[in-house]
Every structure is written in C-alpha cells, then in structure tokens.
Symmetry: C2
Amino acid sequence: VPQPRKPRSDGVRARGAIIREAVSLATIEGLEGLSIGQLADSIEMSKSGVYAHFGSKQEPALAAAPGVGQLVAICDAFFDHLARRTFPGGCFFAGAVLEMGTRPGLVKERITAFQRGFTALIRDFVITAVEQDELPPHEDADALTFELNGIILAANANFVLTGDVGALDMARRVVRRRLGVSTPTAAPHEPAAATQG
Amino acid sequence: VPQPRKPRSDGVRARGAIIREAVSLATIEGLEGLSIGQLADSIEMSKSGVYAHFGSKQEPALAAAPGVGQLVAICDAFFDHLARRTFPGGCFFAGAVLEMGTRPGLVKERITAFQRGFTALIRDFVITAVEQDELPPHEDADALTFELNGIILAANANFVLTGDVGALDMARRVVRRRLGVSTPTAAPHEPAAATQG
C-alpha cells in the first residue's frame, strides 16, 4: 500500500540539485540533449524521485515595494542570476525559447506559458507603477514590458558571449534610467563583512 | 595548372541558396547539426564550390540617410528579415550566440566578431545622429546601442515563439519612439500595385 509522501527536510536542497543539474545540461546541450534517466543517474536518484519536487520562482521580486520597486527588483534578480553564473549557457528560458520555438509540442507550450506568466507579472508591476504616479500616465504597459524584456535578453546575450559583468552593470543602468530611478550605489549581494586587508 | 576563378553570372543566386540552406538547417538543428558535406549534397554542389561564395551584408542600411535614418533602416531591415520568415528559427545570430557562447573555438570567435561589427555599426550611426543634433548631446552611445540590440532580441524571441507579426510592429514602434521619429504609415515592402477588389 503506498504511503502518503512526507515532506522531507532535504526536499528543497534535492530540488535545487535536480534543477541545477538539468538546466546546466540544457544550457550546454540544449533541451534535446536531456533525458530523465541520465539526469537521475548523474544525481544518484531514482527517476520517480526526480519527478517529486516542483513550484514557482518569482517570490523575491514580489517582496519588494509595489510598482517601480518590483520592476527594478525582478530585473536585478535576473542580472544577479546571470552574475552568479548559475548555468554556463546563461538564462535557461532565453535559450529554450529559440531552441524550441520551431518544435511544436508540450515543451514549447510550457515555455510559452512561462514566458506569458513572466510578461504578465512585469506588465502588472508597470500598471501599478503608473497608478502610483511613478511612471507617466501615458506609459504604454505592453511597450515598456517589451523593452524591459529586451534589456534582459541583451544582458543575457552579451554576458553569455563575453563573460563580462560590465554587460550586467550596463543593463542595471539602462533599466534604472528607463524607469526614472537613481543608479545603484553598491554591487548587490556583496558580503557586508568583507574587508580589504 | 589552376585557372583564375571567373565571376559567374549565377554567383549571387548560388550564394543565396547556400546561405539559405545552411542557416535554415542551423536554426532548426543548431550549428552542431551542420556539416559541409551534407550541405553540399543537399544543394547539389561540390564542397569546394560551397566555400567559393562570401562577403558582407550591411549595405542596405548604409544607403539610408546618415544618423537616425540609418538606425531606423538597420532595425527595420532586421524586422523585415524576420517577417519574411527567412529561417524557421528566427535570427541566425541570436540563436548562435546562445548556442556557441559556451563553446570556445573558431565558430564562437567568428560569431563574436560579427556581433562586434554589428554593434560598432549601430554605435557609429548613434554618434552620427548625436553630431547631427538628431539625438540629445548627452545620449550615451553604448547604452543606446545596447537598448536597440535588446529591442531586436525581444522582437526575435517573441516572433519565434508566437509567430505573431504584432511583435514586429511593436518593435518598430518602440525603436521609433526611442529615437524620437514618427511611426511608419505603411507596411514595408508592400507591392505598390496591389489593389483591393
């Protein structure tokens, strides 16, 4: 008789390990190069174990001040993600869109759904920012969403090709100028206790 | 004794056929999926014949009025290229950058060199536009170049995923608003003689 699955204390860690391994592989070999069996082997887990761990990702940006604060936060979260070099091939979804765009099917549908969700989230933030008079009343929410997505994609492409964090600094500046907020004074996630000598 | 190679009247046509076939394959299978032998077979040409046909691509934009005219022309040329659905996977270079970014070697070097050349061309157009007072004197040429590249990449990603030409119309509007020029009144390349009934 199957037992109800208990939450395990190592669940979050295991989920992170699975995602990291799978997406790392995909950013190098492409989605076509992935198999669940190969993935399960490489993290020493059963296939059914691999299937047991999944959810959402956009909570950090939602914790920022509504409106322009959230817009800056979600863009910065993306640039931080690139800066940490989480995956060798940069943003998983940017690559997946171009790879799977020509292949109709479930994977393309899921990628499209994710992109729609991400776009809708940014658009909601823009609308809130307009309602709060942080952006001009005539701001076109669809156009601004498109522009921010473009800045994200340019940061990704530049960083993947050159490995130069200057591309990410540029992207942070461009986002802030576009949204009318001041430029950042310190690199994000810099350890507060770090000293120089 | 080798003879000097004569220009052939079908050279341009042959070059077009080679590029179309090679890049079409690459936008579906990725660059790794290409072989010169396979390509030569599929266009019924010898391998040495395939090697004999190459050069530059940016002449059409250079024919526009210097400055903002050239900036709009080069972006529109890109959107037209997508609208014609020349390749099923959209912009060859956008895909190639993400695919080859993790693979050091000659192909990555060539892609990097092409991207640098394209970026330098746009940046030169921006500088000319500033010198001609078409853009504000404080305009940051690197930042604007980065933004225009982002609009191009967003147009490509959206169009590859959705096939919706609305993404290209959006991109044309965003480019024009960013550069302070009026929106286009007619679709480009529309046959002048077309009638409605």
